[in-house]
Structure formats: structure tokens, C-alpha cells
């Protein structure tokens, strides 16, 4: 055992387990991962509820929906959702889904749960900081929840919080206390994410077990590792922006607010700021954020596909290279959110180039997945279904990105439903499928029991078809020019023609949302009543399946941490006895590790 591992082991041994230290302020990376997962699931339900509210409003504008008043109270007096609160619901939906569900649910859950297990470490490098990371995230959650209950309602300037709208409470009520809480919550989230990133990066670099080179790490670890680097570098920039916006709101500075604004029958006394500056800062963070969410999903997808197709991942090195290329490019493409924002058109040209180049590594990933499936022996576990669904969603969403990334087409499509469709496919649904694939795949390791296969498959088909029914039609609305973030489509004739389509999308949303109940029942039911899992139910080759039990205790391996002899996806190798060879299999290596 290396000295690094040894000192960590000592810390763990000295750590006593009481109820509180085991389930609440746990230092164990597996418990922290589960805490992230459960919290993200709760947030997902809230976020989904908000999307139902929005969809019902869009399908039946102006109609009284009594349940709105019951649920939303003063935000929907008389059963009619007020426009300012529609925008607030939309803002919270975006914020919750991006930060609390996708970021925390993917990087938080699988980063914590899988990194030490898959690289062969006792725990994260800093168990204490890891625990703090979750609880800072929890605090951020509480603050964000509180903002629903303030007098003027939650933040209502979109999840992008463009000033001046987000800075001036006279422009929209949500920009009062709600927006301040929003900024505070995001600042806490940034701190939590920083704690997490530091841990992931350092753990992956320094705590790998013997023989686990970077070239033998499973793709999930690679993806989370790269996402952590993105988080480390992107979030601080948002922190700087959030601080400046808070100063604008509370100390009347004018970083983002120009002179001579006239809002609500009053001239404001700001001087000299620039709204475009916020957009630059926000998207410098915002675009890497997309990949903080997407990359872990792609990593999980790669691993599940290799495992369940019983084939080595085709082009393992190219997959890593493409992850790295996407990560690097993601930092220099932020301007593609701003082609028609008044940004210098020359900068626009630069950003077109970098943006569309991302399509190349993305295409490589898709082709490699497909080749991995080719002549495989596909086992249709729910995890595999979701991984294959992810491939489909990623293709669809990726291809629409080629439209949006090309600046002239973006003139027409910017801020229309085409964009909504695009990012829900490639970032929303694809990442969500990554979460589902991960949960179904690693549930046996998390809880020592199996989830129901049949219900998992039903859940997949309802969700997969539902996602296409919800988001695919939105492309057509987008090309026609139906703008996003509209409270109702009743004011323009050309948007009215989509009344039927909107109703259709809403019904699809309700059904798809309801289908998630199947998942929840399956998830919580299996936790207690599921079939007892074997140690390695999927016959996977990676390290986490070599722990002594299906559910390892703190420290992960009872004896020594195993030494690694081969790559992570050795399935169906010609010289193996079975159709997989564990990474720890030392057949043919003699007594090497005993030296």
C-alpha cells in the first residue's frame, strides 16, 4: 500500500460510526454520493412539477385551473398563473434542473460514489471536505427553496439572470429578494462544487491503486475528472459575476447597469456599466457548465454500453481524447450564446469556428459507441437501454447544435423554441438518461439489491418516447420563430397556429412526468425489497465489482486494495476463459505484485 493510501486508511479506521456519522455527516464517499442522489431526485420532482405548471399554462392560457391556486397560492390567484410568476417558475425550473439536478445528480452522485471504487482508493482524498461539500450544497438548496416563499416571489430573470432585468426590482418583482437569494444560493453552490472538484481531481491523480494508470481508468472516472476540472475553472468566474451582481443590487454600483435607465416611471441613477459584460462572464461559466453536466453522462454511457454489449469500448483512447477536446473547446465558445446580443460581429466569427468544431469530437464519440455495439452481445438491462437512449438523444441534440452554432442561422433561431428543443435534448434529457443509466447500473453496488428489470424497461420506453414527443415538435415551432420564455402564445397569429401542438406537448409532458413514478417506486421499493444482488451482477470488469460484498463498508476493500493488471473494458477478449476479465485478474503475470 502506498504511503498516500496508508495515511488515508488510518484516518478511516479512527473514524467511529454512529447513526449521525454514518447517515448524516458521513465521511464515507459512498454515503455522500447517495445523499447527493436522493437530494437531486427530490429536486428533480420539484423541477418537474414546475415544468408541468408551465406546460399547462402554455396549453391552456387564460383558463382557470383551480389546482394552481391550491398549489401556488397567491402566484395563481383565481387559478390563473400571473405572467410574472410564470417567468419565476420558468427561472426556477431552469436553475433547479441545471444546478441541483443535473450537476449535483451526476457529478455529485457518480463522482463521489464511483471515483474511489473505480480507481481503487479507500475514500476521497479529503473526506471532511467531501462531507462539507454535500452540506454546503444542502444549504444552497435550502436557500433556493426559501426564495419560493419571499413576498415578491422567486427569481424571475431566467436561469441566465441577465441584468438589468435581474438587477432591478422595479423591472420585475422577482428581482427583489428572490433574485438575491438566488445569487446567494448559487454562490454557496459554487463553494460546494469547488470542494467537490478539488477532491475529485486530487483523488484521481494521487490515489489510484497500483497498476491503475490513467490509461486504465474507466471512462466514467475520466469524464467526471474532466468535468471536475471544468468546474474548478468555470465556477469561480460565475462567483465573480455573482458578487458583482449582488453589489449592483444592494450597494447600487453599476457594473452591469448602464446610465440613463428609465424603469417604472422613474429615472435610475446608475452610471456607466455594461449588460453585455454579464453575458460574457455568465457564458464563460455557462458553456463549460453544459459539459460539466454532459461529460459524466457520456462517460457513464460509454461504460454501460461496453459492459452490456460485452465488447471492449471501441477506441478507448479516442474517447478520452474527444472528452479532452470537448472540454478544452468548451471554454472558448461562450460567445455563441451572444451572436445577436450586440457583441462585436468579428468575435462572433471566432466563436462560430470554435463552436462548430465541437461537433467533431462529438461525432467521434457517437461513431465509437455505434462501433462498440456492432457485433456485440447486447444485454438489455435498464441501464443499457438508457445508455442507448442517450446515444440517440445525443445525436439529435448534437445535430441541432450545428444549426445554432452557425451564426447566420442563429439570427433566426436564437431565443426561439428551437433552442429549447436543442438544449433539452443534448443537455437536459441526455444528462438525465446518464443519471438513470448510472442509477440502474450501480444500484446493486449502492444498496446491495437489484432493481426490477421489467419496470425499468417500462420506465425507459415511456420516458424515451415521451422525451421525443415533448421536444421534437419544438424544433418546428422554433424555425417558425416562436420565442421562448413566453407566458402565452395568444398575442401573435403565427404563434397561435401551434395551439394544438402545444396541447399535445403538454399532454406528453404530463404522461412522461407521471411515468417517473414508476422509477421512484422501483427505486425505493428495490432499496428495501429488491432481490439480493450478487457481488458482480453485470459481470463487469471494473474495480468496483471486486469489493468483497455487493455493498462495501467504509474503506471499500476489507484487505489490501487489489492491484490492477489490465484495461477497464476487457470484454470478450480472445484469450479469456469467460467473456470478461476483471482488471485485477493477474493470470499470466506470475507473482509480480508480491514484490
Amino acid at each position: 500500500m502506498s504511503s498516500e493510501q496508508a495515511s488515508l486508511h488510518v484516518d478511516i479506521e479512527h473514524h467511529k460510526e454512529s447513526f449521525i456519522s454514518k447517515y448524516i455527516f458521513s465521511y464515507d464517499h459512498k454515503m455522500i454520493g447517495k445523499q447527493y442522489m436522493i437530494t437531486a431526485l427530490i429536486w428533480a420532482l420539484i423541477g418537474m412539477g414546475l415544468s408541468w405548471v408551465m406546460r399547462i399554462q402554455l396549453a391552456y392560457p387564460g383558463q382557470q385551473i383551480p389546482i394552481f391556486e391550491t398549489l401556488l397560492g397567491r402566484y395563481a390567484e383565481g387559478g390563473i398563473l400571473a405572467p410574472e410568476y410564470y417567468i419565476a417558475m420558468m427561472t426556477m425550473h431552469g436553475t433547479i434542473m441545471v444546478f441541483f439536478v443535473l450537476t449535483a445528480g451526476l457529478v455529485g452522485t457518480f463522482g463521489n460514489f464511483l471515483i474511489p471504487l473505480q480507481i481503487g482508493a479507500r475514500d476521497m482524498a479529503f473526506p471532511l471536505i467531501n462531507m462539507l461539500s454535500y452540506w454546503t450544497f444542502f444549504l444552497a438548496s435550502v436557500v433556493m427553496l426559501l426564495s419560493f416563499f419571499v413576498e415578491s416571489g422567486p427569481a424571475a430573470a431566467g436561469w441566465t439572470a441577465y441584468p438589468p432585468l435581474s438587477a432591478l426590482s422595479s423591472a420585475i418583482p422577482g428581482s427583489g429578494a428572490g433574485q438575491s437569494l438566488w445569487l446567494l444560493s448559487i454562490a454557496l453552490f459554487i463553494v460546494s462544487s469547488l470542494f467537490g472538484s478539488l477532491n475529485y481531481i486530487v483523488t484521481v491523480l494521487n490515489l489510484r491503486t497500483k497498476g491503475m494508470t490513467l490509461g486504465r481508468m474507466p471512462l466514467t472516472v475520466w469524464a467526471v475528472f474532466i468535468a471536475a476540472i471544468l468546474g474548478l475553472l468555470a465556477f469561480p468566474v460565475l462567483l465573480a459575476g455573482a458578487i458583482m451582481l449582488l453589489l449592483d443590487k444592494h450597494l447600487a454600483t453599476s457594473f452591469f447597469i448602464p446610465a440613463g435607465l428609465y424603469v417604472g416611471d422613474a429615472l435610475l441613477s446608475y452610471e456607466g456599466g455594461s449588460p453585455i459584460l454579464w453575458q460574457h462572464i455568465f457564458w464563460f461559466f455557462g458553456h463549460p457548465e453544459v459539459y460539466i453536466v454532459a461529460l459524466p453522462a457520456l462517460g457513464i454511457c460509454s461504460e454501460v454500453i461496453a459492459t452490456c454489449a460485452r465488447k471492449p469500448l471501441f477506441g478507448y483512447k479516442a474517447m478520452i481524447a474527444s472528452l479532452l477536446a470537448i472540454a478544452f473547446l468548451s471554454f472558448i465558445v461562450w460567445g455563441h450564446h451572444m451572436f445577436v446580443s450586440g457583441m462585436n460581429p468579428f468575435l462572433g466569427s471566432v466563436f462560430v469556428l470554435t463552436t462548430i468544431l465541437i461537433a467533431v469530437p462529438s461525432a467521434v464519440k457517437v461513431f465509437n459507441w455505434l462501433t462498440t455495439l456492432w457485433r456485440g452481445k447486447i444485454h438489455y438491462t435498464p441501464g443499457m437501454l438508457f445508455a442507448m437512449g442517450l446515444v440517440s438523444l445525443f445525436i439529435t441534440g448534437g445535430l441541432t447544435g450545428i444549426f445554432l452554432g452557425n451564426a447566420p442561422i442563429d439570427i433566426q433561431l436564437h431565443d426561439t423554441y428551437f433552442v429549447v428543443a436543442h438544449f433539452h435534448f443534448v443537455m437536459g434529457a441526455a444528462a438525465l438518461f446518464g443519471i438513470f443509466a448510472g442509477i440502474y447500473h450501480w444500484f446493486p453496488k449502492m444498496y446491495g439489491r437489484m432493481m426490477s428489470n421489467m419496470w425499468g424497461r417500462i420506465h425507459f420506453w415511456l420516458t424515451f418516447v415521451g422525451i421525443y414527443l415533448i421536444f421534437f415538435p419544438m424544433h418546428f415551432m422554433g424555425t417558425t420563430g416562436v420565442p421562448r420564455r413566453y407566458y402565452a402564445f395568444t398575442e401573435f397569429e403565427y404563434t397561435m397556429q401551434y395551439g394544438g401542438m402545444n396541447e399535445f406537448i403538454t399532454i406528453a409532458t404530463l404522461i412522461t412526468g407521471a411515468a417517473q413514478v414508476i422509477f421512484l417506486v422501483n427505486f425505493f421499493g428495490s432499496m428495501f425489497f429488491g432481490k439480493k444482488a450478487e457481488t458482480n451482477p453485470w459481470k463487469a470488469a471494473t474495480l468496483e465489482w471486486t469489493t468483497d460484498d455487493p455493498m462495501p463498508g467504509h474503506g471499500n476493500w476489507k484487505g489490501e486494495i487489489p492491484t490492477v493488471y489490465r484495461g477497464p473494458h476487457e470484454y470478450s477478449t480472445p484469450d479469456g476463459k469467460e467473456d470478461f476479465i476483471l482488471q485485477t485478474d493477474s493470470t499470466g503475470f506470475g507473482k509480480m505484485d508480491k514484490e
Partner: protein, 94 residues
């Protein structure tokens, strides 16, 4: 950690250098150089100072090359943001 990296002599040398170029930064201002030259000079001095602190006080110079790259290369990205903002500011705004 070898003794050389932490030798007192080197630290004193670096310290004197730091003071010397800080003073040089002050002297250049009243000289009345053309604006861009003055700015260039000041920025170079700042980079030199930063370089000295990072290289010797934080002894990055004595670390492995891989570590040096993993610390310094990401900084290009934030410089890209600064360059884009300055370009935007000088060509388009207001």
C-alpha cells in the same frame, strides 16, 4: 525536497530582485514614455515579479514539468476572457 530549493541565499537574491524591479516600475512612470510603451513596460515588470514569486517563493521552478504545465496552462483560458473583453470594449461599446 532537497536543501537547495529552500536555500536562504536564493530567497534573499529573489527578494532583492523583487524590490529592484518594483522600484524600476515606479521610476518609469514620470519618464513620460509614450503610453503603450509605458504600459508594456509595467506589464512586463508585473509578469517578471509574478514569475519570480511563483518560480522561487512557491518553488514551482523546482517541481516536475507536468505539475508546472497543469498549473500554468489553464491560465490561458482566463487570459482569453480578458482579451475578448478588452477587444469588445475597445471596438464596440457605447
Amino acid at each position: 525536497m532537497s536543501k537547495q530549493e529552500h536555500s536562504k541565499k536564493v530567497y534573499i537574491k529573489v527578494w532583492i530582485w523583487l524590490l529592484a524591479i518594483t522600484i524600476a516600475g515606479f521610476i518609469v512612470s514620470p519618464l513620460g514614455l509614450p503610453g503603450w510603451l509605458h504600459n508594456l513596460f509595467i506589464v512586463i515588470i508585473a509578469l517578471m515579479k509574478g514569475g519570480l514569486i511563483v518560480a522561487y517563493f512557491m518553488h514551482l521552478k523546482f517541481e516536475r514539468l507536468s505539475l508546472i504545465y497543469s498549473i500554468l496552462l489553464p491560465l490561458i483560458l482566463i487570459v482569453a476572457l480578458a482579451v475578448a473583453l478588452l477587444y469588445e470594449g475597445t471596438t464596440r461599446f457605447l
